[in-house]
């Protein structure tokens, strides 16, 4: 196995550019929006209104039950046939946000349910409304619980963004394919891309630890 180190080196710049201008901003934007959406969907899912809860349930089921690739296809190539044409980047962000929204909603729902019922009651007994209790008492505690699974969702998202090339967004993996197409060294380029993905994920994981530590200030060690 002889490795073309020169190619590894010369492709590093373009790959990193792909990561910095494609993968990372796409993942960040989609995760932030997806998280907001997930919170709404999780609350809908927990709603006592059966219709609202059913809508959320179906949404989650479809998002989690169908391949992300198809979701991207539908939004970018399918919607124009009903008159909605969205540019590549917005399409990508919408598709990935919707996807994160489905996965993270279940995480957030579980986290909310994991906060002891007594915390709701304590909120109520000091006169707080449902909404106030949710925002000031329950969600801050749910946040702590949901950090590890949400960080998993984020890490998955980073790797999933490689599908964005299907809808004309150039990111890390697309750059690797381009370089590989020219040099015919797809194995090497894919490995190189994998290492970059891994580093991004390691950074995310250490961010997760730091965040957990910060949120842990109020629990026994």
């Amino acid at each position: 196995m002889n490795i073309n180190w020169e190619l590894v080196w010369s492709s590093l710049g373009p790959l990193l550019t792909g990561a910095i201008t494609g993968t990372i901003p796409l993942a960040l934007a989609s995760f932030s929006l997806g998280l907001l959406l997930a919170l709404v969907v999780a609350l809908m899912r927990l709603s006592r209104n059966r219709v609202v809860s059913a809508v959320a349930r179906i949404y989650i089921s479809v998002i989690r039950g169908t391949p992300l690739l198809v979701q991207l296809f539908v939004i970018f190539y399918g919607l124009p046939s009903i008159g909605i044409t969205i540019s590549p980047w917005p399409s990508a962000i919408i598709a990935f946000s919707l996807n994160v929204g489905g996965y993270a909603a279940e995480v957030i729902r579980a986290a909310i349910l994991s906060v002891p019922k007594g915390q709701w009651e304590a909120g109520h007994t000091i006169g707080m409304s449902r909404h106030q209790t949710l925002v000031r008492i329950i969600l801050p505690q749910a946040a702590r619980v949901s950090v590890p699974p949400l960080s998993n969702t984020f890490i998955s998202l980073v790797k999933d963004t490689s599908l964005a090339s299907l809808i004309l967004v150039t990111e890390l993996f697309r750059v690797a394919q381009q370089v590989a197409a020219f040099s015919q060294e797809f194995m090497l380029l894919y490995l190189e891309a994998a290492v970059i993905y891994w580093i991004i994920c390691l950074v995310l994981a250490s961010g997760q630890s730091a965040l957990e530590k910060r949120l842990d200030r109020y629990v026994a060690h």
Binding site: F76, Y77, P80, Q178, V179, A181, F182, F186, M187
Partner: protein
């Protein structure tokens, strides 16, 4: 055989054909291409400008039309979906003209005339013709017309993403052969000088590649054809072809 004369009546669009005027008024011709198919559409040095035989021809066509080409790169899966969804006006990606495709899309006059070749390991003497493929295994890109040719020759076909993977499988001994455009083979040999592979046979039929357009884009197709005709006449096509293949494959 050009498909540009396909009757406009088969167009799904109910209204008039505005394909040319739309492009002209936008001043931009949206082009779908893979960007990872050397030497037709790829990035110079792997990460530079988009370039290649198809890309240069399309650039020349666009210049004739007086519009700017806007290349949009994606996987082959998505290229036709993109054309359907009006994401692109035209596909420039060595699209071979087949009956199935002619039924759904309009084609320009072809700008590539080539043959298919069977590529095997150099030390493989068991395959010398397309008949010899019977019972053998070949690696083909699913979306290419060579896939069908391999099947018709009686080969077991493994679907791969492209040339590089096909050659990898070939050299690992996991497939016996791959059929591809002779031009692709020649180009890869130009850079790799790989003595491990050879051409085992060549088709007698010519394969024609052209720009693909949405059905009913008659005015745009006509304009492109007109441009291609002028580019053929003034020697531009030959020049581009010579640059990539040291030969004129444009007719």
């Amino acid at each position: 055989g050009s498909a540009s004369t396909a009757p406009a009546s088969s167009a799904p669009a109910a209204g008039a054909d505005t394909s040319l005027s739309d492009v002209k008024s936008a001043g931009v011709l949206k082009v779908g291409t893979e960007g990872t198919y050397k030497p037709f559409t790829f990035h110079a040095n792997g990460s530079g400008e988009l370039t290649g035989y198809d890309v240069e021809i399309l650039n020349a066509v666009a210049a004739k039309l007086g519009v700017k080409p806007a290349f949009q790169e994606t996987q082959f899966d998505a290229i036709f979906a993109g054309l359907d969804a009006k994401r692109f006006d035209v596909v420039a990606n060595q699209v071979s003209i087949t009956d199935e495709r002619k039924a759904k899309y309009d084609f320009s006059t072809p700008y590539t005339v080539s043959t298919g070749v069977i590529v095997t390991k150099s030390d493989n003497n068991s395959i010398n013709s397309f008949e010899d493929l019977k019972g053998k295994t070949t690696a083909q890109s699913l979306t290419s017309n060579w896939y069908k040719l391999a099947q018709q020759s009686g080969a077991n076909v493994e679907a791969v993403e492209g040339w590089a993977q096909a050659i990898t499988l070939l050299k690992q001994g996991r497939v016996d052969a791959t059929i591809n455009d002779k031009l692709t083979y020649l180009d890869s040999q130009k850079t790799d000088h790989d003595a491990g592979i050879k051409i085992a046979a060549e088709t007698t039929d010519k394969s024609l590649s052209a720009f693909a357009l949405r059905k009913g884009s008659t005015s745009l197709t006509d304009a492109i054809n007109k441009a291609l005709g002028e580019l053929a006449a003034d020697g531009t096509l030959t020049k581009i072809s010579k640059k990539y293949f040291d030969a004129d494959v444009s007719k």
